[in-house]
């Protein structure tokens, strides 16, 4: 039986804690839309988020939601998937959460390729702690802790993921809901680790990377005819060359998932019978005789 779902089925009663106009609203509604269109049910969705304004999103998606510690959403999500393959596992967090404190886990999640979708809500700043530079802040971005401008070169999370062996990379913009919905759906349907980086403006602190700025400085990859998201070198080029920020599905490849490679059984291990035939235990003991 297939149930028709609506985005409202994924809404929670809790009022959001975001500032009016925050880019994260767009991400939230695209997510709910995508889940509904895919016919997912809240009980089968595990939603794991990091800490930050962005991380609060797990409180606004009606699902089994886990709002953990800063930077560790991906290990949690990977394990939830291993524990129960039947779940649709989605992780989300900010650019600080994913690319600063969480950078190591990010690289390793990519490498492992669990069937998890990761949404990076990139506002090029640390929103919740009041606007410090994040790894994606532009060089020279002025903030409380960098009064003379951010001295660092921004990190290119998607390029990093590509180098680490990503199998699905996309980038959206929170003011372009249609594209985002399509992208998130494709990401969830991708078998393997899928990353959707969303440009999600912080209207309170980031006065550089505003909605207007993104409109000016992004372009849809598909406008270049002939761009096919299956060439790693072309993807690296698209991600790293100077010029507008590319939006769209940037790269996609098939590779066995972590679940498959670890030889996990088909049924969720969360539901295993914990009482196998006692001989199986006894034979282990025999080896110590």
């Amino acid at each position: 039986m297939s149930v028709t779902m609506s985005p409202k089925d994924f809404a929670t009663a809790t009022p959001s804690w975001w500032c009016p106009g925050c880019g994260d609203f767009g991400v939230l509604s695209a997510l709910k839309q995508a889940l509904a269109e895919l016919g997912k049910q809240p009980k089968d969705v595990a939603f794991i988020s990091g800490i930050g304004c962005s991380g609060k999103i797990s409180g606004y998606i009606h699902s089994y939601a886990f709002h953990g510690v800063h930077g560790r959403a991906l290990p949690v999500a990977t394990a939830v998937k291993l524990a129960n393959r039947d779940l649709t596992v989605i992780a989300a967090g900010g650019d600080g959460d994913g690319y600063a404190i969480g950078a190591g886990h990010f690289v390793h999640a990519v490498r492992r390729n669990p069937d998890v979708t990761y949404i990076v809500m990139d506002n090029q700043t640390y929103g919740l702690t009041k606007g410090q530079s994040s790894p994606t802040s532009a060089t020279g971005y002025v903030a409380s802790v960098s009064p003379d401008g951010n001295p660092d070169t921004p990190l290119n999370g998607l390029a990093l993921a590509l180098a680490a062996g990503a199998t699905f990379l996309a980038r959206g913009f929170s003011a372009q809901p249609k594209q985002m919905v399509a992208m998130i759906k494709a990401a969830i349907e991708h078998r393997g680790f899928s990353i959707v980086e969303v440009m999600s403006p912080c209207v309170t602190y980031n006065k550089i990377n505003t909605y207007a700025w993104f409109k000016e400085n992004t372009e849809d990859l598909t406008v270049h005819d002939g761009y096919a998201p299956n060439d790693k070198l072309a993807a690296f080029d698209a991600l790293t060359r100077e010029g507008d920020i590319p939006l769209g599905i940037i790269y996609k490849e098939e590779r066995p998932t972590f679940e498959d490679r670890t030889g996990l059984p088909e049924a969720p291990i969360a539901r295993l019978d914990l009482h196998p035939p006692r001989e199986e235990f006894a034979s282990i003991q025999a080896a110590y005789r």
Partner: protein, 590 residues
């Protein structure tokens, strides 16, 4: 004097095969019907560097080293120099004199020296230097009377998969060793007469094996870990076994990932654990707090080693207790169980999984290098006794959305817990303070109530916690308190002190947190002197006891912090001295 009890030390360079030979000797002793305890003193390097492997065997199950070494098998002079002071007068040394000689100042007169050109015999006579270990086994066996058939049987078992040629070579090596003794030293001149007992049905296992096995039997089906001595064994064991039972093991990128993976799997409904040692445990600090506030059941095995920092990674210590109890910002309920034997390592691991799920909190199994990497003999583990109790888990059926509250206030502080996939149970599990439904709130009244709910579990669980074990004479004036690997040497000390007329009783703590205040008070009451035995500098256990009974004059710390476990005499001597001094003093402490 012919004694049916011996402590053999195998000393040489790391990576030269003494590990295999030590294990072999232990196995032979076991099969001869003796009780065995082993202790590995390895350097933190792969090859080279002085190493020793101690095997103690006898009729009594003592779980620890003896006062001194009876027989040292020394493959080089360094081994002799490092351990000659630990030899029992009357003991013996088997020394490989192929290329080194014993200097006079080292050659103790009260020890018998058996010099055997092990290296030369191996290389020249048998053509393979590696077999000098096996030759030494022949020598040792002949000297102290190990069953030659069992030796052959076990050596064959080890080398079988390398082919008949290798087996043959090793058989000849044993014989060469035995013959050398016969020719040069006569038949069993060492004074030891090991009598083969009835083996019965017994196992020989390391603490880490028993923990792993316990976890498997208790239903653990997910483990994430990061290699670290001396906890890696558990990760390795589980990697081998879990997949056969439908489970999975992940080697994480670091301990931060290992513990958060463990939380993720447990949140999703799997019995999950991780295992680590000090440095990794330190990195897990933040996430343990998350487990506490999210009320997620996880089991964390801490195999302690010598700190601080990298310290001495292959040596033993009991300096992680404070960390396990107190680390982390904010306050969460947690449980710490500390096995004192290999059997308890199994039993308390099972208990850990049940407690974790019944009370929805992190449970630590605290062990230490001198127990978790030590082998001991034990009767078979009764797996039919193992009961899996998952507490208030709802992993089936359905709950009513809106009515169901993940963090509901209840009498015992434990709320019904659904796992993802159960219809109607959707909720947010947030590390921020939240109300009973999981909604984040900073309301002060809710906050206070939630703290009381969570922390209250520590009280409601008390009746279910593994009790302390009382050893020795119940009303003796002198008390001893300790835990973990010290159980062995303390229990032996109690027996030997009693034989010498000094009556003592020993409270072996098995639950270290919540701290067993009542047991401690009860035990200290009426004692004239209480010795707190632990392997650390600051007296972590002592401090906990002081907070319960006060800073009594009669509380004495017996501490060792050089990375090595206690030998029984180190406990016996100070107590005997105190007993002599205090002979007239009969007043009670409390």
């Amino acid at each position: 004097m012919i004694v049916n009890c011996v402590e053999v030390m195998f000393g040489g360079q790391a990576g030269d095969g003494s590990l295999t030979t030590g294990d072999l000797i232990a196995g032979v002793f076991k099969r001869m019907g003796l009780e065995v305890y082993t202790y590995k003193d390895f350097p933190s390097r792969i090859r080279g560097g002085h190493t020793n492997y101690v095997i103690r065997a006898g009729e009594h199950h003592d779980y620890g080293m003896a006062d001194a070494v009876d027989g040292l098998v020394a493959f080089d002079l360094e081994a002799v120099e490092a351990h000659i002071d630990e030899m029992r007068p009357g003991g013996f040394v088997i020394f490989d004199n192929t290329s080194e000689t014993i200097p006079d100042e080292v050659r103790r007169a009260d020890v018998t020296w058996y010099e055997v050109p092990l290296g030369k015999m191996a290389k020249v006579d048998l053509g393979l230097e590696l077999v000098r270990n096996t030759i030494s086994l022949g020598v040792l066996g002949a000297l102290i009377g190990m069953d030659p058939e069992i030796i052959r049987h076990d050596v064959r078992g080890v080398y079988q998969r390398k082919g008949e040629k290798v087996v043959d070579l090793n058989m000849r090596a044993i014989e060469a060793g035995e013959n050398y003794v016969l020719e040069h030293f006569g038949d069993r001149p060492s004074g030891y007469g090991l009598v083969a007992g009835a083996d019965g049905d017994r196992l020989i296992m390391m603490g880490n094996d028993a923990i792993s096995y316990g976890a498997l039997v208790a239903g653990c089906r997910f483990m994430a870990g990061y290699p670290i001595t001396p906890a890696t064994d558990v990760l390795e064991w589980m990697s081998k076994q879990l997949p056969k039972f439908g489970g999975v093991v992940v080697q994480a990128e670091d301990e931060l990932a290992a513990i958060t993976m463990t939380l993720g799997a447990a949140f999703a409904g799997v019995r999950a654990m991780t295992a680590t040692s000090g440095p990794g445990q330190a990195l897990m600090t933040e996430a343990i707090g998350l487990a506490g506030v999210l009320e997620i059941p996880v089991v964390v095995v801490e195999c302690a080693r010598t700190g601080p920092s990298t310290g001495m990674p292959t040596k033993t210590e009991q300096s992680n207790l404070n960390h396990l109890i107190y680390s982390g910002h904010g306050e969460i309920p947690r449980v710490i169980l500390a096995p004192g034997t290999v059997r308890e390592s199994f039993e308390l691991t099972v208990a850990a999984f049940n407690l974790a799920e019944r009370y929805q909190l992190p449970v630590f199994v605290l062990t230490e290098q001198a127990l978790c990497q030590s082998k001991a003999t034990l009767a078979p583990l009764d797996i039919d006794k193992v009961k899996i109790d998952r507490g208030k888990l709802i992993d089936d059926g359905e709950v009513v959305f809106g009515e169901y509250k993940r963090f509901a206030f209840t009498a015992d502080g434990v709320s019904p817990r659904v796992i993802p996939g159960v219809p109607g149970g959707m909720h947010l599990a947030p590390g921020s303070e939240h109300n009973d439904a999981g909604v984040i709130t900073e309301n002060p009244r809710n906050r206070a109530r939630m703290m009381e709910k969570r922390m209250g579990k520590l009280e409601s669980m008390r009746p279910e916690l593994p009790r302390a074990v009382l050893h020795g004479i119940a009303d003796a004036d002198i008390g001893i308190i300790g835990y973990g690997a010290n159980r062995g040497p303390i229990a032996e000390a109690v027996q030997r002190l009693a034989a010498g007329g000094v009556l003592t009783r020993f409270l072996q703590l098995r639950t270290l947190w919540p701290f067993p205040d009542d047991d401690i008070k009860e035990f200290v009451r009426g004692a004239q002197h209480v010795f707190v035995v632990e392997n650390n500098y600051t007296g972590q256990l002592m401090q906990l006891i002081r907070a319960v009974v006060g800073p009594l004059d009669a509380l004495h710390g017996l501490r060792k912090y050089d990375g090595r476990p206690f030998r029984p005499i180190e406990i016996i001597e100070p107590i005997r001295q105190m007993a002599e001094v205090a002979q007239d003093d009969t007043a009670e402490v409390i």
